[in-house]
């Protein structure tokens, strides 16, 4: 997976003295479509909850891929699907993530 973290993200994390970043990726298999969601937030996550840790420069990135299937009561964490590219940037002062599977 190619990971691209913008300088603005590093500055935003440095301001709150945080050395870790977490990204939760979700694929929704619902309503006749497959849609993608990605949420980024400061701080570390629990590897026991399926988060994988990657060192990116001076940051620790924790990420996991969830699958939500229509009709299922719970989502599941997938280790099979891995995004090919992950970009984290700041947008309107907030962290924003975008995953591509191409």
């Amino acid at each position: 997976m190619d990971i691209d973290i913008d300088a603005g993200v590093r500055r935003a994390l440095a301001e709150v003295r945080e050395g870790a970043l977490s990204v939760e990726l979700t694929l929704h298999f619902c309503g006749g479509l497959v849609t993608k969601d990605a949420v980024a937030y400061p701080g570390a996550e629990d590897e026991a909850a399926g988060f994988q840790r990657e060192r990116v420069g001076d940051l620790d990135l924790y990420w996991r891929q969830r699958l939500v299937v229509e009709g299922s009561t719970a989502s599941r964490v997938s280790t099979e699907i891995v995004p090919r590219h992950l970009r984290v940037r700041t947008k309107d002062g907030m962290l924003s993530a975008q995953a591509s599977y191409e």
Binding site: L27, F29, V34, T35, K36, D37, E80, V82, R84, Y101
Partner: protein, 167 residues
């Protein structure tokens, strides 16, 4: 994936024939295949005739061994990045508009879905007869494909499936 504990509890199987390389047919094939696999189904896709072009590498421009096969490949470019709508293509404008809408609504593209299908263990079978007809070789295709199949082998697979779709 669910455990298989004998015939009664064997993993449900879905087999899909992808016959077309129209965007509006390939998209549903990929959505159904990935949704099925994400739901725990064992999924096979058999790519035949026009549908075989879906498995072609996006960067491959011309394929084939003789002028007829090469000419066909130029007229009908393969790869998931080059799929066109069967209606309202309008010289590319309609297709571009649908792709743009999909991106806006964060809908996974056919290229992304094909990669996900492979990740989820969906088995992708090229049609042997169509490969010969188009003069396509293994090098023209994306990675992680199964051994090419003929009609008889697909029928055997379909006979063992709980869901069979022709799209």
């Amino acid at each position: 994936m669910p455990e298989m504990n004998g015939d009664d509890e064997r993993q449900k199987r879905m087999s899909i024939v992808c016959w077309s390389n129209d965007l509006d047919r390939v998209w549903p094939v990929m959505i159904l295949a990935t949704t099925g696999a994400a739901s725990g189904l064992d999924v096979n896709i058999f790519f035949t005739f026009w549908g075989l072009r879906v498995l072609q590498r996006n960067e491959k421009r011309t394929t084939g061994q003789n002028w007829k096969q090469r000419g066909e490949s130029v007229m009908d470019r393969g790869g998931t990045d080059h799929l066109k709508l069967s209606k309202m293509h309008m010289g590319g404008m309609g297709t571009a508009m649908i792709k743009s809408l999909a991106k806006e609504f964060k809908v996974a593209s056919p290229t992304e879905l094909l990669g996900m299908a492979s990740d989820l263990g969906v088995r992708l079978y090229p049609c042997q007869m169509t490969m010969e007809l188009y003069g396509l070789t293994k090098d023209d295709f994306i990675d992680n494909l199964e051994t090419p199949l003929g009609a008889a082998s697909f029928i055997e697979m379909a006979a063992e499936s709980d869901i069979n779709l022709f799209i």
